[in-house]
Symmetry: C2
Subunit: 211 residues, 2 copies
C-alpha cells in the first residue's frame, strides 16, 4: 500500500484494481500500511508456537522489513533513479527491497517447523534464487507486457529511467537468467522430497507467469 | 514522522526543527516511519526478558499502534475535520490516537516488571488520566502559545476547524480538567510509594509544561 503512494512508485493500479490511495485517499493509505505492518507482528505474537519460536519469527520479520531489509532497499531504489547502478548494485537493492521479505516468508515456515541449520540454509538458497528470479521476471514483464495484462501500469521503470535487469543485461539474457535461477531454486529443495512440492510449484509459477 | 506528512497534519516543524519530510523528502519520511515501527518490535523481540514477557510486550505495542489504537484514532481524527464531534467522540478519538501508545509505554514497564493485575490496573488509571491531560494541555497550548515557544506551528487545529477540548469545553474548564486529571494520575500511584516518583514527576511535567 505504501509502495503505491505518489511519493513512492505513484501507481494507480494494483492487481487490476485502483490502489488504496486512489480508491480512498493518501492519508488512509498511509494509515492502512502502518496498521497492517503492526498487525503482522501482532499475529506472530499470538501464533500457536513455543514463545521462543514466536520471538524468532518476529525477529526475522522485523529484520526483513526494516532498514536492513525492505525499507532500506526501497530507499536505495529511490536514490538510484537516473543513476548508473551496476548489476551488483541492482542485485543488492533488490535483495533488500523484495528479496528479504520473500525469503522471510519461507524462513518463517522453517522456523515454525524448527528445521535444522542445513535445512534452513537450503531454504535460503531457494528463496534467494526465487526472489531474484521474481524481480528479473518483473522487469521482463514491465518491458514486454501491457498494463491490462499486468494489472498495473506497464513500462514505468523505463519511463522513470530506472536501472532494471532488462536494461542492464538485455531481454534474452534476463529471461535465461530467470530460468537458471528457477532451476537452482527447485534443486535446493531436493532433500525435502515431496513435502516441498508447493514450494517447487511456486518457483514454476513465479518464472512462468504472464503478469 | 508519518504524523507530520502533508497528507496527515502537514507540519513543517517538530520540536523546533524541520520535520523529516521537510529536511529530506516525503519518500524518506515514509520509509523512516516504516523502518522505525519495525525496529520497535525488533527491540522488544530481543529484550532481556523471559520469552513470554517479550511476547506480551510485543502484543501490547501492536494493539496500541494499530487499527484499534494509534492508526485507528488518527483515521477517526482525519474523518472528524469540520464535523461536530461531541466530547465523548473527542475523548474516544484521543484515547486511541495518543492515549493508547502513551498507556502502552507505561504498561510495558509493568509487564517487564511482572506486576500483578491490581498494580497493572493502577498503572492504567495513571496512564489514561495522563494521556487525556496531555491532550487537553496540547489543545490549550495550541490555542494560547506561539509557534516559537511550541517548536511547532501554533493555532493549526482552530485553522483546520478541528474539534478540540478548548473549543468544546472552553479554555478555563479545559485547564481545570487537566489539573484534576493530573491529581487522579498522581493519586493512582499511591500504592507504589517512592518507586513511582519518576511517574509522578512526569504527571507534573505534562500538565505544567509551556510547550
Amino acid at each position: 500500500v505504501h509502495d503505491d503512494l505518489p511519493c513512492m512508485d505513484d501507481d494507480d493500479l494494483r492487481r487490476g484494481r485502483p490502489t488504496v490511495h486512489k480508491a480512498f485517499d493518501e492519508a488512509t493509505a498511509l494509515l492502512v500500511g502502518d496498521a497492517l505492518q503492526t498487525r503482522a507482528f501482532e499475529l506472530l505474537a499470538h501464533a500457536s508456537c513455543d514463545a521462543q519460536v514466536c520471538l524468532k519469527m518476529i525477529s526475522a520479520l522485523a529484520a526483513a522489513s526494516g532498514s536492513r531489509g525492505m525499507a532500506g532497499g526501497q530507499a536505495i531504489d529511490l536514490e538510484s533513479v537516473g543513476k548508473k547502478l551496476d548489476l551488483a548494485g541492482l542485485q543488492q537493492m533488490h535483495a533488500m527491497k523484495t528479496g528479504a521479505l520473500l525469503s522471510c516468508a519461507v524462513q518463517l515456515g522453517g522456523i515454525a517447523a524448527q528445521l535444522n541449520s542445513v535445512q534452513m540454509a537450503n531454504l535460503d538458497v531457494y528463496s534467494t534464487a526465487l526472489g531474484l528470479a521474481f524481480q528479473i521476471v518483473d522487469d521482463v514483464l514491465d518491458a514486454t507486457a501491457d498494463s491490462q495484462t499486468l494489472g498495473k501500469t506497464a513500462g514505468k521503470d523505463a519511463a522513470a529511467n530506472k536501472p532494471t535487469y532488462v536494461t542492464l543485461m538485455g531481454l534474452d539474457y534476463a529471461q535465461k537468467q530467470a530460468k537458471e535461477l528457477q532451476e537452482t531454486a527447485i534443486a535446493s529443495l531436493d532433500s525435502f522430497g515431496a513435502s516441498a512440492q508447493a514450494l517447487k510449484d511456486l518457483a514454476l509459477l513465479v518464472v512462468n507467469r504472464g503478469k
